[in-house]
């Protein structure tokens, strides 16, 4: 089976795509130089020889391969976790549900669902500069001033709050704990809809997908919308006053009780331990 893998670089999701490609056959790996121009990149990929085209399950991976599929009028299975001949398992609902599906085509186009495959070590990557012609492309990049703070997507610790926090002001204790851990503050969709936090803080299927070493979920019930955004965390600590909350079924560690008492107590204990 001849396999072509599109990668964005040597990032984690791209290396996971290479792993899937190597599972399926003899894989060559291609990345692009120059400004991001999905239709032009896709045209280059569409013109190469392959039986299976694989990409990372990132925004750009899914976008570029959707362009290829549209150009060639082929089906495209986004975010697969497993491939068995012409059958695939792919994620739905941000990974809280799986679909088994059959790809009815001679040439298959697939992206590797994030964290469904181990990242390969050191892929051999060919780099090409595609013809852009008049393709739509990025003309400018805006980098926000984060004030030196770690971003939600990059943080090793995320302290996240849900409906149980109760108000915008209630996030003060979460901010304090996050600052002490060099972490970032996140929140659930209920919180952004209520206007307590900006959408940039939202973790979830339609917010940021995070993969910290530790995710601390405070007053979050555990709706699938939210789990889809934090299931990449290596460990999850849930703090909730409802012992029946769904979040505990996704947690490695649990503290039952009022977050408004528990979070400041953790902050105080941490300060005490560091002072000693």
């Amino acid at each position: 089976m001849s396999v072509l893998v599109f990668v964005e670089g040597e990032d984690e999701l791209s290396c996971q795509a290479v792993t899937l490609g190597e599972q399926l056959g003899t894989a060559s790996v291609l990345m692009f130089d120059g400004p991001y121009a999905p239709s032009a990149w896709a045209r280059e990929l569409a013109g190469r020889e392959w039986e299976v085209l694989v990409g990372p399950g990132s925004d750009r991976g899914n976008e570029v391969l959707a362009h290829v599929a549209a150009q060639l009028d082929l089906p495209f299975a986004a975010n697969v976790t497993d491939v068995r001949g012409d059958e695939v398992t792919r994620v739905r609902w941000g990974g809280t549900l799986l679909e088994e599906a059959r790809v009815r085509a001679e040439r298959r186009i697939l992206t590797a669902a994030p964290f469904a495959f181990e990242a390969c070590g050191d892929p051999k990557i060919d780099v090409t500069l595609p013809e852009l012609d008049d393709a739509v492309r990025v003309i400018e990049h805006l980098a926000p001033d984060t004030g030196g703070k770690v971003t939600l997507a990059d943080a090793r610790v995320v302290v996240s709050g849900g409906r149980g926090v109760g108000s915008a002001e209630g996030f003060g204790v979460l901010e304090e704990l996050a600052a002490l851990l060099d972490g970032a503050v996140g929140c659930s969709r209920v919180v952004t809809s209520a206007g307590w936090r900006p959408h940039t803080d939202q973790v979830g299927q339609t917010g940021t997908k995070v993969s910290p070493d530790l995710y601390i979920a405070c007053g979050i019930s555990g709706a699938t919308q939210h789990i889809a955004g934090c299931k990449g965390a290596k460990k999850l600590l849930a703090i909730n006053d409802d012992p029946e909350a769904t979040i505990f079924a996704h947690a490695d560690y649990a503290v039952v009780g009022d977050l408004h008492e528990i979070v400041p107590a953790i902050t105080a204990e941490l300060r005490k331990a560091r002072g000693a």
Binding site: A70, P75, R92, R102, V256, A265
Partner: protein, 245 residues
Amino acid sequence: MCVKRVPITGGRMVLTADGQAIETKHLGFTISPHEECGVEEAVRIVEAGGGEVLVLTLGPEEAVEQLRECMALGADRAVHLVSADEWDAQATAAAIVDAIRAEEPFDLIVFGNESADAGNYQVGIRVAYALGLPVVTGLKGITTADGRARCEQEVPGGRDVYDVPLPAVVTVKEGLNLPRYPSVPAKLRANRKPVDARPLERPAPRLEKLRLVVPEGAGKQAEILGHGPEAAPRVVEVLRELGVA
């Protein structure tokens, strides 16, 4: 504005006995969060610059509820492609293209970046190719002026900017704006706005759903570190074990 009816899933996925769908007996329905922002943006653009918002869906008869909700938010009229079956992305795009051609011209054709349920990430892009239009995806900001759209897409470390001529296809993400809540008079007005319903037969799928499966993994046994603030010392121990404190 193209939307899709999806269930409000809550905390647990429960499937029908045949494994073909989510059991929705006890669930409400909505459109995807990305699409709520798309409707809001479309209405704002028309409020500011004039014109009309058409909302389009492919879905079962009950999906007229979602079309009414979109019209309560300010859309002017609706086209409902009626089919009880679930369509794959290629067939969905083809049906939408036919419907758009029957209603042209449009300046902007808006989709959610991906549907909440199937998450195929491709219908808007396929529609753009079929209509020969430029497409930009995942927008968190859009301004239109002088026949062009300046589009901002969220990427790691900031935003990428695109500039495309209209007409164009865009797909949007939640966070683009904070959608309004419909007022009672707006809901009443929505009931009188026109819905053009057209029954459609589903073509043979090329990405054929065989069955749905609830993933293993949920149902972890959490280690209980304690109850109330007295748990704090144990929590700090764990933070140190994990190397984050």
